[in-house]
Symmetry: none
Subunit: 352 residues, 2 copies
């Protein structure tokens, strides 16, 4: 079994059997029987890539494609676009985040792009140049307005730490901090420093009004807590029914064995994996496939668990082959087998 | 056995059994058991890459990753950045060495970057454009101030030859001259031209105040000599204890069979390999792992021996496969097996 349940601080709902969660995740996986049109297995966007970083957005966006998304877009600075384009002809790279452009100029471009996306992953290779941080903030605002799922990673979390209001109460968001980012974020939003380690992810979720938190580490913790006052913020894209049902506090530990090499970039793969599950959740929600039994409010938590499981498995498989020499590029070809390992080869290939 | 000992000119300390050196090198190799965080297996930087050369810094930086470093940075001119980025998404490429920038502008950027690195490899693809030479000199000064290990190769050695004071007495440095560079450097710093060939590397070390010299050739010679007057220069990052203990003169010959094809770029692989061992030495020194029994003053010599052994082995393995058509890119995939050949498959994969 691949996950372990912690008693949540306020355990309104505790998942009794992790297998039930696996079964819920499986329902979000698009069928591969020729019944879907282009795009109905996910249109993923990654916002990041500027002067210093070009590999990170590539890893996130390429992961989405190898995970099973139909289309994968990178929204980046012109300073990064050439290199990112060169990594793969399968990516669609939009160099619209120009340092010389105003938010007013970029807004309609972002609105147009985001209207075509099911999820936006904000952060891989974003960096901290002020113009990139500004455009990331703008994109998050536009995503909220259109009900687009969000993954916030890396320097996107730096942005959230400085101004938590930009994400607060938006339950279609998954935050994916690593050890350092998690510690900083907890301090910035005022998590009680004496709280037990395994409860902190849930506390961050609660303080941020019910966003899902994926705390990366030796094992990954995935937490959601919508029981706090902040949960009363009306989430514009949840029906009243959803609002009532999602009053929950839950923390799960994913202990699928990962690799032991801690090369940079594996977090970008994770963000792309979670993003793809979220995109599938949106397609599911829109009725492209599935039985409609999974509530939209449940999607971010399931996506975080599924993304974590497959990424850790891919890291393990890459590590078995490459050992000490593992680089993140080695994870990409492992995603298919890693996915099949946990969700079945039928889910991978569509054939029995 | 892989190395042979020369009687050093002033043999304060002679290593009796090369196996003992191998065992010391092994102590610097980070464990691969999941106990380390990202970065604790080394953060390597390479300074080089301008108008003419882009492959050299790639070879050095990519070698670091395939050797086992967690993160590998290239610090280069904007004229080289696009190509270097395109070679691999796993590298982090900083195009901050702009010909139009002043040293005053670049200094804080270099300080910020170097504060995050365990080693800086100066030279691969550096070239001789005056602005690149100036920035390289600046980076060496900043590295000295922060006690960062240094590898000086290629046109970084041109810089040292013109102004030996920039490296003199800094015992955290390894110089890696090829035949031509070695001859020129010897002339520039005044090595007695009648000295026997196998003593010259030690003489250069002595005249430069105890830096480690890796003289590349048919066999590689690694020498350190801290017995000269120049050794009395107080190395700011060595304790008094180190200072006393490291009063040594030692020369080792590494005769691991290399390839017979002398394609350009193999020296860049070597510089990345030595750099990674130095980064591990820094992590070891900082207590990330290990038993603390290796003195910091010993690290450069061990790193040079280990880097030489693995690089020659990788060259041999590439040559067996490619023969006359060998190119340096062929060495990179051989590094893992070459490493395992000399330091054990457990050291490569973390498993027995």
């Amino acid at each position: 079994m691949t996950s372990r349940l912690f008693p949540a601080l306020v355990a309104v709902r505790i998942c009794p059997v992790p297998r039930a969660i696996l079964e819920q995740i499986k329902k979000l996986i698009p069928p591969l029987d020729g019944s879907l049109h282009k795009g109905q297995s996910g249109r993923v966007g990654v916002l990041g890539g500027a002067m210093d970083y070009t590999g990170a957005p590539f890893f996130a966006a390429m992961t989405a494609l190898r995970f099973g998304a139909d289309l994968s877009h990178v929204i980046c600075s012109p300073t990064a676009a050439g290199a990112i384009k060169s990594y793969s002809p399968d990516l669609i790279v939009h160099p619209i985040l120009n340092e010389q452009s105003t938010c007013g100029q970029v807004t309609p471009q972002l609105q147009s792009l985001l209207s075509r996306l099911h999820v936006l992953v904000v952060g891989p290779g974003l960096g901290r140049e002020p113009y990139m941080q500004s455009f990331a903030k703008l994109a998050i605002q536009i995503a909220r307005e259109s009900g687009t799922y969000l993954v916030i990673d890396a320097d996107g979390l730096f942005l959230v730490g400085r101004d938590p209001s930009i994400i607060k109460g938006y339950r279609r968001a998954v935050l994916t901090p690593n050890v350092v980012e998690f510690k900083r974020l907890g301090e910035q939003i005022g998590v009680n420093p004496t709280a037990p380690a395994h409860e902190r992810a849930g506390l961050i979720s609660k303080l941020l009004g019910g966003v899902t938190v994926l705390e990366k580490g030796r094992n990954d913790l995935i937490a959601v807590d919508t029981t706090g006052n902040e949960a009363n913020l009306k989430a514009s894209h949840l029906s009243d029914l959803d609002e009532a049902k999602e009053n929950t506090a839950e923390t799960i530990e994913v202990d699928v064995e990962g690799g032991f090499k801690r090369c940079g970039g594996q977090g970008d793969v994770l963000s792309g994996a979670v993003g793809t599950f979220l995109a599938w959740g949106r397609c599911y929600e829109d009725g492209a496939f599935g039985d409609g039994s999974i509530q939209a409010s449940r999607v971010p938590f399931l996506a975080a668990v599924g993304g974590s499981m497959v990424t850790r498995e891919a890291s393990h498989r890459g590590f078995v082959k490459q050992g000490r020499g593992l680089v993140t590029e080695d994870l990409i070809p492992e995603l298919g087998a890693a996915f099949a390992e946990h969700f079945g080869s039928q889910a991978r290939s569509g054939r029995l």
